[in-house]
Symmetry: C2
Subunit: 384 residues, 2 copies
């Protein structure tokens, strides 16, 4: 069968707040072939990715992604791999390409898994999935007291691991310590506590070093994104100076960039977003490389459960990579987008859906409710 | 003064050919403040970068670039540095951002240099410019005979260095050798011969190794882009196996990624495009780091002389970095875009323009002649 149709849906909350919350809008991909439909989700920004998808050609290495996908064969995994290579070569010089293509790759695998009547993880070679320890991914409170309450509340919801994100952290050591002490106090000693500082120290290794003690005292499982996403040298420097495990990789937009983060950044946890890194197959390749180097693979997800299930497929059957990011505090768009959702079990684990494809059903009415109407004209001709 | 206006001009040849020629379209930036005008050029694709410039906000790290630039102060270099930091933080999660912002940074420096009535290189701290050995940047011929004729012709034009680009090279060792022998024969033994293979070997170090002999026999000055742009490990592997100097970096989209290419890729020449890496100031920072590590800085330019002058500013006064890429075979758009052009002197060198700003004048009629009309509507409202 051939890829007959690809549609992009730009969805948005009525108001976008100045928050570090990636669930406020979405770019959803629908692909159709042989009577089947596959769905995927790209990382934002939707308009930039739409332009990347349909832009006029600039030269032989800067083509619109659409041209490398539409009308191509899609009968087996090799066809998807061919499309991945074509996009890599033909749209190499457009920086947005990995963001845009990632959602398309997920939709193609979803469609192909539907043809084979199996989960995506089976399609890509895994015979079963294993539960992961879900870590609730939330932002630090405005005060240590608020952090305490958020942690307490999540513990009561049965979470065994909590990651606090960058808001209100990283600028003042005393306040940082108060947040960490509050979180640990609320969680007790057995729960896993992760800290994500959102690249706040840029390339300043010393600023990170100053916090090693307070982070170690809180017995954290990892310190995430101390530096800019491509500051591999600084990651490596910090790693050489401490036993504190480092995590990073959410902005890795290729298999190579993730390998760099592992080889040169010396992280202990590599965090990959199926909507950024190139898709689920890229994630699987990164997972294999990571685990061969004693690095745990972790999904990065801060949007819908469509993206959550997609990001879990790459390491579904791994018994070395134990954790899964489970975003909380989603905006209504990201929640309403899907008819079904992933939940934690009594052990605080999430089970990867065992249904066909990624097994997440799109709620058609949400596509209407949150729709952003986009029209693009080039020389008076409508191209989107 | 404040940045009052920013305009983007999408220009294109009437027909875009399936060639590795980046001069077939262009995105030109015009900024206005205090009665002054500055000009810059972004890397393609124009529509994707326009979308990046004006896209609706997605979240606090995915803002339209325009919002971080318009109405900002622009009185001195610190104001430009502030804007660079703001864009980095506020548009971090849109992959296209460095491509789009690079042209804006150049335009801002051009405007500021006009206020100070000096060249950009003076504005950023260099007291004079030094001539660079121009290398003609051309594609290999369809046959070795054609390569011979191209080389002969360029030698007759007084070039002391010629770089042959990837077309028709890298797939068959015998043909590759014939091209190299033909080029060297036409050039004689004293001219500098560079070879650019355009990442054709992906991550396959062995495929590169197979050509080391024929490249060494041709006495080349450097081998450029043997691997994907972020395959630092493979660059480093090849570097460890040969004395043949490596070059790369044209896709580096940040100071950090260029430092990675130097530290881990172990290149001997780092090639930076002012329209990709973040602008002229990013280039200067990379140059300082490169030269401190005995690596030569080289401009990457495959478009207009506006971009050529911009890319030369970052290392204008260097006496360690000797070469400059001088694109030949430009399409008429890239030539017609500017009223003045840079030429080689009798020593085969190019002299960086000593006029105010980047000293390249935009040809207003070309902005009309090659104009692509773009209109973008979001929920029926025209945003571009």
């Amino acid at each position: 069968m051939k890829i007959e149709n690809i549609e992009l849906f730009y969805l948005s909350m009525p108001e976008i707040l100045d928050e570090a919350d990636g669930s406020q809008d979405a770019l959803i991909v629908k692909v159709e072939a042989g009577g089947l439909v596959g769905w995927g989700e790209c990382e934002a920004s939707p308009l930039t990715s739409i332009a990347n998808f349909i832009c006029p050609k600039s030269h032989s290495a800067a083509n619109p992604i659409r041209d490398s996908v539409i009308n191509q064969n899609i009968n087996d995994l090799n066809d998807v791999k061919k499309i991945i290579q074509t996009v890599k070569h033909k749209s190499l010089m457009i920086a947005q390409t990995p963001h845009t293509f990632s959602g398309i790759e997920v939709a193609l695998l979803d469609l192909l898994a539907k043809k084979e009547n199996c989960p995506i993880y089976s399609l890509i070679g895994m015979n079963k999935s294993k539960p992961k320890i879900a870590y609730a991914s939330v932002l630090f409170g405005k005060t240590p007291q608020e952090t305490y309450e958020v942690a307490k509340n999540l513990k009561n919801q049965n979470f065994k691991a909590i990651k606090f994100g960058w808001q209100n952290f990283g600028l003042n050591i005393k306040t940082d310590e108060d947040h960490l002490v509050a979180a640990r106090e609320a969680m007790g000693k057995d729960l896993e506590l992760m800290v994500d500082v959102g690249a706040i120290w840029g390339t300043d290794v010393e600023e990170a070093q100053k916090r090693l003690n307070i982070l170690q005292n809180a017995n954290i499982t990892w310190l995430e994104e101390p530096f800019f996403s491509d500051a591999f040298y600084e990651y490596g420097q910090l790693s050489d100076k401490t036993n504190l495990p480092l995590a990073g990789g959410e902005s890795c937009h290729s298999v190579e960039s993730a390998k760099n983060m592992i080889r040169f950044g010396k992280v202990n946890f590599i965090q990959i977003d199926a909507g950024i890194a190139g898709g689920i197959l890229a994630g699987k390749e990164i997972c294999d490389f990571a685990e061969a180097n004693n690095v745990q693979y972790v999904n990065h997800t801060f949007t819908s459960h469509l993206q959550l299930s997609s990001s879990l497929q790459s390491y579904a059957n791994s018994s070395k990579s134990l954790f899964a990011e489970f975003p909380q505090q989603l905006k209504s768009l990201a929640w309403d987008l899907t008819e079904n959702h992933i939940d934690i079990d009594i052990n605080g684990c999430i089970n990867i859906p065992t249904g066909v494809g990624h097994a997440i059903k799109i709620n058609q009415s949400a596509l209407e409710q949150y729709k952003v109407d986009v029209q693009i004209y080039i020389n008076k001709e409508k191209i989107f």
